[in-house]
């Protein structure tokens, strides 16, 4: 049977649209893949056990990046320690306690705005508040606090979503048994929201680990001879190390392999952390039964 011409025109339009959609997906996949491949090809020769476990030597033209890995680890851990409790508690307030109205709406807008603030602004804020005003100096503490504020919106957002995802019927069932509101939140709502909160927070870790601007003035050192002994010491950090080697050193060309190696390690870490989050999430989705 012959297909009428109006139908053929429709099929053509449909085909065109699908092609466009496929093309967009392809462009994104190819650019991401290309980027990763480029980093890998340029960096993999540098990355070995010694590179990961030794400090830099010879004015940072040789040796490894262990202090920077450690520094990023400390900063990220500190940021999570700051942002996770604060973020979860804020989210509990916003979703469970606060009367939904103009004030909550303003707080939500504030949180969303915080998420859109350029990271260099966080850096300057941290410099002004923690480093200068509170006189912590440039150190892990100042950097972790600054990064903590940076990832706070991510954690609040993820926690709010997770809390809202807990069925209202669970809350009603608990309250109707004469269980207080706080105990209902603590015993029923939080345990069921926790997987979602953690997944969102892990994505925050990736963000904190990768940022340069917030730690430039608050925590990161160009080079430190010794490892930090307290949270009031400066540290080297992966993103800042890359920035320094690529722009501020005296041997920029010489250190190219180290730069690529460091980029590879950083990207590997961030992607690894995100992958963990994705795995946890899919595992939980499969187990969920409501």
């Amino acid at each position: 049977m012959a297909i009428p011409s109006t139908m053929r025109w429709r099929y053509f339009k449909e085909g065109l649209f699908f092609a466009l959609v496929r093309l967009s997906a392809l462009v994104i996949t190819v650019s991401l893949g290309g980027l990763l491949l480029y980093i890998f090809l340029n960096g993999f020769r540098t990355v070995n056990w010694a590179f990961l476990t030794l400090p830099p030597t010879d004015s940072m033209t040789k040796g490894g990046i262990m202090p920077a890995i450690l520094g990023t680890f400390y900063l990220t851990l500190g940021a999570i320690a700051v942002a996770l409790p604060l973020g979860i508690m804020s989210a509990i307030y916003l979703t469970e306690y606060a009367k939904q109205g103009p004030i909550v709406r303003i707080i939500r807008i504030g949180v969303n705005c915080l998420a859109g603030v350029p990271s260099i602004v966080f850096g300057l804020f941290g410099l002004g508040l923690f480093v200068v005003f509170l006189q912590f100096g440039s150190c892990i503490l100042s950097g972790a606090l600054t990064l903590g504020i940076l990832i706070l919106p991510t954690i609040i957002g993820a926690s709010e979503e997770a809390l809202k995802g807990v069925p209202q019927t669970f809350r009603e069932a608990s309250l109707a048994l004469g269980v207080s509101k706080w105990q209902t939140i603590y015993r029923i709502v939080l345990p069921n929201a926790l997987p979602g909160i953690l997944t969102g927070s892990i994505l925050g870790i990736g963000r904190a680990a990768g940022e340069t601007a917030p730690i430039m003035f608050t925590a990161a050192a160009f080079y430190t001879a010794k490892l930090p002994s307290s949270i009031l010491d400066e540290v080297m950090a992966l993103p800042f190390h890359i920035y320094v080697l690529a722009t501020a050193g005296t041997h920029i060309e010489e250190t190219r392999p180290i730069q690529y190696g460091t980029v590879l390690v950083l990207v590997g870490l961030v992607l690894g952390v995100d992958l963990i989050a994705i795995f946890i999430r899919s595992f939980i989705r499969k187990r969920k039964r409501w």
Binding site: K99, Q100, P167, T169, F170, R171, E172, A173, S174, L175, A176, L177, G178, V179, S180, Q183, R187, I188, N192, R289, W290
Partner: protein, 256 residues
């Protein structure tokens, strides 16, 4: 008057209820007697569920609601400023429209409330679990799988578990908000049978959309329409010789 003053466990006096500016209940006065099943019927939005949730202060959870009048439970107005709603809800249990067990084991679903109310002895808890499940006629079906997730049970079993969970708090009154509307006919029959047994021990107030159900299981029936209690009488009378034409129209299916 059918009511005998001494036997009422809970009664409502001149209650008005507002959601913001909207008046959902108008001047309701009703007595609920001990060891009776009282059914609240009426078309959707008539206020019967609102009244039910008023009796254990579940409406408190909704922002912008307001109550006028008194709800007297054991001689005290439960809306008095001194009264802790948490305390009221321990004494007046509730079963919801859709079965809502916690994503915990069957055992922990039952012990959740009592434990938080301070019962910690393992032997007492085990006895309580068995007693509650037996009362809800679920014990024989689940006695060997107490540690399995409650989410594995069928809808009807889940609802009986929710009843057992409410009974574990040893309440005086059991409120049921359309407890069988999400269930199949066999599960519904089981729960109706269960309600007949439970009224020996508890005072039961049930909201239902199913007129036959109200006729089958209740002693007293209140018919609501647009926030007003149109008629409140013995179930038999409501379903055979109602005083009001609106009641008759509703139960014979002329509107609703």
């Amino acid at each position: 008057m059918v009511t005998v003053e001494d036997t009422r466990v809970i009664y409502v006096k001149n209650v008005n209820f507002y959601y913001g500016g909207f008046r959902a209940l108008t001047d309701i006065t009703m007595d609920f007697e001990q060891n009776r099943v009282t059914a609240l019927i009426g078309p959707s939005g008539c206020g019967k569920s609102t009244l039910l949730r008023l009796l254990n202060r579940m409406n408190d959870l909704i922002d912008g609601t307001r109550v006028e009048g008194e709800v007297i439970f054991e001689g005290n107005n439960i809306y008095d400023a001194k009264v802790d709603p948490v305390d009221i809800r321990r004494r007046i249990g509730m079963v919801f429209q859709k079965p809502n067990p916690f994503p915990k084991s069957i055992y922990n679903n039952i012990t959740y409330g009592p434990r938080l109310a301070g019962l910690n002895n393992r032997i007492d808890l085990e006895a309580l679990v068995e007693r509650s499940l037996r009362q809800a006629v679920l014990w024989d079906e689940v006695k060997d799988i107490l540690n399995q997730s409650a989410m594995m049970l069928s809808g009807g079993q889940q609802q009986r578990l929710c009843i057992a969970r409410a009974l574990a708090m040893k309440p005086d009154v059991l409120l049921m908000d359309e407890p069988t509307s999400a269930l199949d006919p066999i599960s519904t029959a089981k729960i109706e049978e269960l309600i007949q047994d439970l009224k020996k021990l508890y005072t039961i107030i049930i909201v239902t959309h199913n007129m036959q159900q109200a006729a089958r299981i209740s002693d007293m029936t209140g018919f609501f329409y647009i926030g007003k209690l149109i008629e409140f009488n013995a179930t038999e009378k409501i379903f055979t010789k109602p005083d009001h034409k609106q009641t008759e129209d509703y139960i014979t299916g002329r509107f609703g």
